[in-house]
């Protein structure tokens, strides 16, 4: 089963190596890992998609916790969350098929961000199903290049994966 972990880490040099090293060393499978700053510039947030049964997940979480730079881990898989991924796709697009491609782009509410002589770059954001569907639809035109960010995710509503340094907010 795939799990989505939201992990807050100290924004220290080497923290990504520590996390990635832990996964490879202990033989856990990362499907994707994204990292970036949060609202607090000292803290970065990783979204890690990892597959494994409950036992593996328990170990992953506990081992991650042992890293001094890891502040907080939330397995949000079973919660209500929003997840998004961004993908850039360069497709072969000579003028005869451009119209067709643009229709697909419209349907998925994606965007064309570059027009070359024989190619288009399409930008699309969405959850996993949407991204897969877009890619599927574009395959017939010839995908020349594809890059995806990996998943980012956030809990819905009043639940947070954040730490409050400010005690007053805690009540």
């Amino acid at each position: 089963m795939r799990h989505i972990l939201a992990v807050l880490v100290e924004n220290n040099p080497g923290v990504l190596t520590r996390v990635a090293g832990l996964f490879s060393r202990r033989g856990y499978n990362i499907d994707s890992l994204t990292v970036g700053r949060t609202e607090n510039s000292n803290i970065s947030r990783m979204t890690i998609v990892v597959s494994g049964d409950d036992l593996v997940l328990e170990q992953v979480t506990k081992q991650l916790h042992k890293l001094i730079d890891v502040i907080k881990i939330n397995d949000i898989t079973s919660e209500q969350y929003v997840d998004r991924e961004l993908v850039l796709i360069k497709v072969g697009a000579d003028p005869t098929v451009r119209g067709e491609i643009m229709q697909i782009v419209d349907i998925f509410r994606a965007r064309i961000v570059d027009i070359g002589r024989k190619t288009l770059i399409i930008e699309c954001t969405g959850d996993e199903d949407k991204i897969s569907a877009v890619i599927e639809s574009l395959i017939p035109f010839g995908i020349k290049e594809l890059v995806r960010t990996g998943k980012v995710a956030m809990l819905r509503g009043q639940k947070f994966t954040s730490i409050n340094d400010n005690k007053e907010d805690d009540n």
Partner: protein, 553 residues
């Protein structure tokens, strides 16, 4: 006043109460050594950086205080690696300080540059590359805190030369604030209640205790638990000394070379109380058959150890000492019954034994060491048969008196670790029990011992074999002794060449006099015991086998 980075390191070490440093200088750590020169801090110059790491480790295990080792960049730092890995596996608090090329030269394959923080990432509890002198004091404070709290472990601080030279104001921080590091110390009340219930209902409990009991200083609480529950106690290799092995309820060690009584008891028990132990494969053998009839309570400060190898019924995360104190309060005195009788029978029927035949047996030598020292020495070991016999035939009654490389099994650990232990405990008799193979891995540290007159006693059980490997070849590889016959130098002459006392013993009746002489010498002594060559360590659980199915003994 502005201090240099090097001076800040010295001051910080003093703030931490450091009394001994083991190290070896070189180009990129020169500013530190310059500040050390008239600092009043005691530094021991080892003969190989691996020796420094092991000495710091031995010091830490013997005293309970963190050990400190220092090396230069590149080869100096990489020479520490085995020692750091060793400390990591056995949860020993050491601080490793390494010189590094100046910040501006990092990443350029500069002379003697090695990415030591990268290299030691998986074998340190945490590590730092300090690139601003302003971070130095805080880093050192954090390092000691991390190394010594929760589940202890090694921390490495990499110190670029320019950071050692740069100046800043010095103020040693009072506390540390690490958002991601807050070890859980007190046990959860609900879980403790559950555990007490299980214990109350158990008919055949066994306490299985590991190094965590010693680390947390919980031997008194453990003793109380054993008394209240009338549970027999078995320990791991690293747990030796947590419970007096002279006690009727002591089962001795369990696992691959454990006692039959211990392995039978664990296999038959209906409740296993695991305390500060981690279900290592050398302990459990075939995991599905380990304590197969038992519910399991697991108490450990490291949550990641719980449920890692076996299924646990009641996990309790917390400092062992605190948790046991909490638990004991909830327990009622149990009465002796069939189980206790059974234990006594097993112990009586299956004592550890060897075939005494008038020749010089390694087991006999260990027994004699026990008698001569009245069980009051600090026993350090190398790795192999020597280590197992030292574990089996000497009775440990106090914590921190058995010091051995458990998790990593590092040959060459013993001598430098003994030096560290002796530095930490100058009034104790410290004996390194060695094989003729292991001792040659860090024999150069005899020079260190002689130079500072650190009166360690090296006992070589000399079988001219890499004995433990030979034993496996005998049993599992049809006696094909592939590259396990090993020759050594004339150890007596070698000891003398180093300036130590060298003795040789070939007959059983010479053992005691030689040991007495060594203890009285008050200087480094090496005794070359020429023992029966093909003696085996028994009982033995074949690797991957169930622990109640033991060979020999």
């Amino acid at each position: 006043m502005q201090l240099s980075g090097a001076e800040i390191i010295i001051k910080s070490l003093k703030e931490e109460g450091v009394e001994a440093i083991f190290g070896y200088p070189g180009g990129q750590i020169l500013p530190f050594y310059d500040a050390l020169y008239d600092s009043g801090l005691k530094h021991y110059l080892v003969r190989h950086e691996q020796g420094a790491a092991h000495a710091a480790d031995g010091y830490a295990r013997a005293t309970g205080k963190p050990g400190v080792c220092v090396a230069t960049s590149g080869p100096g730092a990489t020479n520490l690696v085995t020692g750091i890995a060793n400390a990591y596996m056995d949860s020993v608090p050491i601080i490793a300080l390494t010189g590094q090329v100046p910040c501006g030269m990092l990443g350029k394959d500069s002379f003697q540059e090695a990415d030591i923080t990268g290299i030691t990432l998986p074998i340190t509890k945490h590590n730092y590359l300090v690139n601003d002198v302003k971070d130095l004091a805080r880093t050192i404070k954090e390092s000691f805190h991390i190394a010594t709290t929760g589940r202890p472990g090694p921390v490495l601080i990499d110190l670029p030369k320019d950071v050692q030279v740069a100046k800043t104001k010095f103020k040693y921080p009072e506390d540390v604030s690490l958002k991601g590091y807050k070890p859980i110390l007190k046990g959860n009340k609900g879980q403790i209640g559950q555990a007490a219930k299980l214990i109350g209902n158990a008919k055949r409990p066994v306490i299985y205790c590991g190094g965590g009991v010693i680390v947390s200083g919980a031997n008194a609480e453990l003793f109380r638990l054993a008394e209240l529950t009338l549970s027999p106690v078995t320990t791991t290799l690293l747990g030796k000394g947590a419970f007096p092995e002279t006690h009727p309820m002591s089962l001795g060690m369990l696992g691959m070379h454990g006692t039959k009584a211990a392995n039978y008891a664990v296999s038959e028990c209906d409740l296993l109380i695991a305390v500060g132990a981690r279900f290592d494969d050398r302990v459990t053998g075939k995991i599905d058959e380990f304590a197969a009839k038992a519910r399991v309570i697991h108490i450990d400060v490291d949550p990641a150890e719980i449920g890692k190898n076996v299924k646990v019924d009641v996990p309790i995360v917390g400092d062992v000492k605190k948790v046991l104190a909490q638990l004991n309060e909830k327990l009622e005195q149990q009465l002796s019954g069939e189980w206790q009788d059974k234990i006594a029978q097993w112990k009586e029927k299956h004592p550890l034994s060897y075939g005494a035949n008038g020749k010089l047996k390694p087991q006999f030598i260990i027994e004699q060491i026990y008698e001569v020292t009245r069980g009051d020495a600090i026993i350090v070991t190398e790795v192999g048969q020597n280590q197992m016999w030292a574990a089996q035939y000497y009775k440990y009654t106090r914590p921190r008196t058995f010091i051995s490389s458990g998790g990593l099994g590092t040959m060459g650990y013993g001598l430098p670790a003994a030096i560290g232990a002796q530095v930490g405990c100058p009034d104790s008799v410290v004996i390194d029990i060695a094989g003729d193979g292991s001792i040659q891995m860090n024999i150069q540290e005899l020079a260190t011992a002689v130079h500072y007159n650190i009166p360690v006693i090296v006992v070589i059980l000399n079988n001219n074999f890499l004995g433990m490997v030979r034993q496996w070849q005998e049993i599992f590889y049809d006696r094909r002794y592939s590259y396990t016959e090993i020759t050594g130098p004339d150890f007596v002459k070698l000891a003398e060449a180093y300036g130590a006392v060298g003795l040789r013993v070939t007959e059983p009746n010479e053992v005691k006099p030689a040991l007495k002489k060594a203890i009285e010498a008050k200087r480094p002594v090496l005794i070359d015991f020429v023992v029966e060559r093909e003696e085996n360590v028994f009982p033995m659980v074949p690797p991957g086998g169930a622990i109640h199915k033991m060979l020999g003994g």
